[in-house]
Symmetry: C2
Subunit: 386 residues, 2 copies
């Protein structure tokens, strides 16, 4: 639906978390409409949008009606049911990424099958339907190995490290999310994790962001360094080529994040995300065009913006909820100590361990940037450090 | 009024033009509430705010009720009536800048008196109440000289260049806006115009942005270069000192822009603006902390962000309405030609000569940046250039 008085088209987000929230700023700059389908008016993106539909993303009729109020639809997460994807398809409104692509971000088993068919490096893996399958897999790759639910896991949930047959049996006794299967993966003794981000438009224009290093704590992304320090340029290029190939072969439109294990000698694909991703938050201030703006440009089939960095280094550190509910009061200290720091708070209720914001430091001294970002995030979480 | 679930405070903007609109992004990043008092839901900032009050900024009761729904109030222009400023004062809600400061941005005659009392360099000036006064002024400074209405002028309106006694008589026969007087000023044969911006908090913390060069066409800002090219560092420092002194002496809180004439040998003050200003739009991408974020931080009395540039040069060029109503369709060309350009469209109806957006180019080759910015703005206005 074209907006009033010759504004640009309206992009609708299904889901109103921080990814949709951080898309509001580039939408305003571009002069386009921005609307969100939210569970409540207090979700992060609902708080900053003039155009909020309250409803369930799991209800096909709600999603279809929402889509028909927009010119193009996208998601701030991939956890949509097949019925909802079908309703979107039938709405007649363009939506990206398409169901045929999203399924590879929703289902890790399908993702492994597809990437293996493409010859893209993955850990050894197997579909596990019984303890006998797990035993057979262990006999090939040894213990420990990884057991995952093919669907529904996030932030380290739905993933187990299995150290013996007994542990495997225990995990396999856990309930599986609906439509989910068990996936076994070789344990990769990686040196570090990397993320390669691509923006791709329906016209097949692609831009590749610098490959970044991500550090997880307790399964949650804690720190991102852009570009990944001391990464062999050939391996960086290989990571970008893998991500480009995946985006084209799976017909991903919008942002794609390919999470990779760097084993020290090679890289293998860990997971895919088809949306703006935590590993790209640094790009808001650290790149010419942020991942959020390029996601919008991509789903609108506009020419994409330059993805390159504006400074030698960017460090992004997530703010995890701590004991202090009032994040705002931390500004007095954080800003007085560091007038060059970028802070994003998402408007979320603070709960221990929950991602409630992030900080980014951009500059030329990596050690200094890491220290500054870590100090601020610790302070927001209630730790007072020197 | 504190917002729900421990969000930060809510900053309310009286006025919902592009200056309020561009404040929405840093408000979202800071995790604070952002509300606007707008004439209609189709004003630039109303289009991007979740919290819009429709009402007249000229009605004291409306403004008072709006203020009482916010934690702190500020303006996106200074054209408020004394009755409205009084209503704000009586609301009990902090608002910035204060009436006692704003009056110097509202009334150019009071501004000249105050700056002259402070010994700050101004053109020669006089309060004109009759043709005889004008004649007397001309006998001191010669023709041409400038006649201005002390209140209500903007973007070149309310300003006349007077070339002889006859012309002066004609201008003085024009109707004066309410509460306005005639101000005569010496015609300064300036080489160029400069702008010095300061952010100042109630705690008297100040930060000074780089001094920029502004170029007007038909009385409307067309191009801003940051920093002003080939500006003697001592003159730049003097401009910053003048702006700092004005902000402190007049007790300005928030952003202050001091527009200056550079005569080649000295600088004199032209006008003051007590809000984010067109001469600071470059700071969104070109400075560590934008003028919009520092205005918010200032009125919240938070420590201010670093104002320095992130690259050697930034060039901002205003998009003026042309013959083409549909700005969005220009993106295909503009973005394909220049993936590194920053574009802001304000969601305004296009009218010839109206400011409907701006572009910014940031980098190290000034000539290239100027060319890129000029090409894009011309294209948005309907001119096709090589």
């Amino acid at each position: 639906m074209a907006s009033a008085f010759e504004l640009g088209p309206t992009v609708g987000f299904i889901g109103a978390g921080q990814l949709a929230r951080m898309s509001a700023a580039p939408a305003a700059a571009l002069g386009i409409g921005f609307s969100v389908l939210a569970n409540s008016g207090e979700e992060p993106a609902a708080l900053v949008s003039s155009n909020v539909t309250i409803g369930s993303k799991d209800d096909p009729k709600t999603v279809q009606a929402f889509a028909q109020s927009c010119d193009v639809v996208t998601f701030d997460h991939e956890l949509l049911t097949p019925e909802v994807m079908q309703a979107l398809e039938e709405s007649g409104v363009p939506y990206y990424p398409k169901a045929a692509a999203v399924v590879y971000a929703q289902d890790k088993l399908l993702m492994r099958q597809a990437l293996t068919n493409l010859g893209i490096p993955c850990p050894q893996w197997a579909h596990i339907e019984s303890e006998a399958d797990a035993h057979e897999f262990a006999s090939r790759v040894g213990y420990p190995f990884i057991l995952k639910t093919s669907r529904g896991g996030y932030d380290g949930k739905g993933v187990w490290i299995v150290r013996d047959a007994n542990a495997a049996a225990q995990v396999l006794a856990e309930p599986l999310p609906q439509g989910s299967a068990w996936l076994a993966e070789e344990f990769i003794p990686f040196e570090r994790e990397l993320s390669a981000q691509i923006a791709r438009s329906p016209s097949n224009q692609c831009v590749a962001y610098p490959v970044v290093q991500t550090t997880q704590r307790d399964g949650i992304c804690a720190e991102v360094i852009s570009p990944a320090p001391a990464l062999d340029p050939r391996r960086a290029e290989r990571a970008q080529e893998i991500a480009l190939r995946i985006s084209r072969e799976l017909d991903v439109v919008g942002m794609l994040a390919v999470e990779l294990f760097d084993t020290g000698t090679d890289i293998v694909v860990n997971e895919l995300a088809m949306r703006p991703h935590n590993s790209g938050h640094w790009s808001i201030e650290g790149a010419v065009t942020s991942q959020f703006e390029n996601h919008l440009r991509a789903v609108l089939d506009l020419p994409l913006g330059a993805p390159h960095a504006v400074a030698p280094w960017s460090v992004m550190s997530n703010i995890l909820g701590g004991d202090v509910g009032d994040l705002y009061s931390a500004y007095r200290h954080v800003f007085a100590r560091d007038p060059g720091l970028y802070v994003h708070l998402y408007g979320k209720v603070v709960k221990p361990g929950r991602k409630v914001g992030h900080v980014t430091a951009v500059g030329s001294d990596l050690t200094d940037l890491q220290h500054r970002a870590a100090h601020a995030t610790a302070y927001f979480s209630g730790e007072i450090n020197e």
